[in-house]
Subunit: 232 residues, 4 copies
């Protein structure tokens, strides 16, 4: 079932591991087939080096495991809520990368301070509110998804493919599992750049709007001219 | 004698070396067989790449070497005190990893600022007091163990598998030598995250108690649901 | 056409990638043949590991692609302006390396605080002004070149082979594509050193002029005595 | 001539390169045969990966090259002054490692804040004064050696095997070329630890004297008990 998607998700999990963003087993990637109403996700707590495509777990949009000998990632319910609400996305990557986590723990969004950021994220990367005690005690992972959706009421997930969960860590997404991993890599890089910039110039303002617009559209707009084709 | 344990301890020492936490020969791992009343530890000052399982040293709970052609780690007496007092642990890892050392040198505990920390350590990672001149002059390594035990009078070593020795470095422990190494890796990662968070938000408070409880129990509680089984 | 130069530029792009300065596809290197009035540049958005010399794109000094199956780097127009104005240079490297970007985003030049810096850059590395909205909307990449040239009216590009574009990133250049990459590596290293120095001593002054002069000329002056010959 | 020493110095230069402390060709190691009154040093500006033992240069204690097809390191005159004054040392390593340079550029010694430091350096690592304009203009590298010796009038080079040259970088030494490299590695590690500690606790005091004494002697004293023998 979904052999191609399982291989893609497996490869994306391995790419995430080789990106250097992962400590121990802290992170997971999933990918969805909207046609089938199914997504594929990393098994929970398994070492990246020891996984094969067959270890990936297939889950339906009610959150039920429909194939796979392993238990799915403990964050599966969060992935599920994002897939149900963000219909244009094809993959999700979750990491505990250091600088993105530092902003999440500081309860601060990552301000857009330069063109590197603008190339990937259309403005400051938002941070959710903290979950209430009740939200933590019941259906914690599902509620983690819900506070992301609450934060994205006025935000377009297709131009802002990342969020920081307060006191937790980032979730990123994209056109595919592989694209979500690239956004996770970009997020950590721009988080470190913003961190360093704020050490040098604590009161620096955000990138002017016209530069943000230009850089984002150069890569992602209808007249994009970065890369070898518009789909890239 | 204890061939399996010697191999495990040798592998854990090598895993520690490959984790990137080790500079030169600054670090050592041990593992215990409670049934035999013996523990196995790295030899002192030997290069990680040049060790074999047979270079490991077997020590009894009186601190006597009972097998091994090498002198055991100079920190052996510290390991011994921890094994005698913390009966539920199977392995100990000692490193001089950079950010954990920075907190130890700053005489500050590592505050629990997010879920990454809470997944591994149930609250702020404690720091000992400085040793007195007398404690340094006589049985220094044993007294290093004693100030850890003094600090842990009100702390459960099974939910807090790490300590910072003031102006020195961390000791970590776990179910096994391999598990102790994982905790040493986790400790350095959360120390760096806390360091960066404090740069961004010096007055940030600790993670709310209900989130700490949730994350720790999700991985380690009686109803743990992270990983493929409860033992993991 | 220009097989030797294409190979050099390809190798320089790969050297840049292996230097650790590159995240994803953020960076590009070009090299020029002044005799032919042509330069060779990396294709846009292509993975470094997957490129061959034949993927390099040949561009003339009017900015027209004269050979190559790929679209050239989106930054080609910036390279073009630099080649037209800086006649003594043979190659250009553009990166988004972290610490150089941090200074660029902070709108601060990199002060010359030590001899490592002086060995490569004759004084503080300049930062451009921000582009106006009009400059961004029309011929953005060409105008990026123009603000560099504006900043270099009183600066000699042969003794200052680097610039920070405000809120963007560095451009470096040199005698060849390979030399430009070395300057990009040196720039990131001295940017990190300056960053750390400013954390330790925010009010530290610049390196005294006579030391700057000595170190720069030791490597690059007519009586240079670093390396095995004066050309190095 | 001196084949064994040339091989040792070549290996030490390669070990330094693989330590990660070296950017481009910024660094060099030498070793001395006191019996022969000759020392062996890296050639200037040569890539580490491309050197062989035969590329090493043999220099006498008047600073004359007595064997070698390459020009010796541009820092040879500094090495020479140290060998003439510090008769107990066998090797010297010079790097531009990032955190040691940051302290040197900040004109600050590296305070001894913990046992990692005390294990290698008996107290704060000293920093020289800046050279005068006259000292820079004439015999610059020799005068670099002279300001080190001036700073070490009251310091024992055998218990303090490192110095920071103001606004420049560290020199380290040891029993052998290989030992000098280990001290260079230790210096960068403790510099980073001190840097981070000062971010967390700017007013932290130095390590109490009795702990400094204990740790240094545990490794280096007449009753040393670290490692497999006293010579280590």
């Amino acid at each position: 079932m979904l052999e191609k998607l399982k291989k893609e998700v497996w490869e994306a999990n391995r790419a995430l591991f080789h990106s250097g963003l992962i400590t121990l087993t802290w992170g997971n990637v999933s990918g969805i087939s909207h046609a089938d109403g199914l997504f594929v996700i990393k098994p929970s707590g398994v070492e990246y080096a020891e996984m094969s495509p067959d270890d990936m777990v297939v889950v339906d949009l009610n959150g039920n495991v429909v194939e796979g000998k392993n238990r799915p990632s403990s964050d599966t319910a969060t992935h599920l809520e994002l897939y149900k609400a963000f219909r244009g996305i094809g993959g999700i990557a979750h990491t505990h990368s250091t600088y993105a986590v530092a902003f999440a723990q500081a309860l601060k969004e990552i301000p857009c301070l330069g063109t590197t950021h603008a190339d990937h994220f259309f403005g400051a990367v938002p941070v959710t509110r903290l979950l209430t005690e009740q939200e933590v005690d019941n259906a914690y992972e599902r509620n983690t998804g819900m506070v992301i959706l609450e934060r994205f009421k006025q935000v377009d997930p297709l131009t802002m493919p990342a969020v920081l969960i307060a006191a937790h860590a980032p979730f990123c997404w994209g056109n595919s599992a592989s694209d979500a991993v690239k956004n996770a890599v970009a997020l950590e890089a721009v988080a470190k750049m913003a961190f360093d910039t704020l050490q040098l110039a604590p009161d620096i303002g955000e990138l002017p709007r016209h530069v943000l617009q230009k850089h984002y559209e150069r890569k992602h707009g209808v007249n994009a001219y970065y890369g070898q084709n518009k789909e890239q």
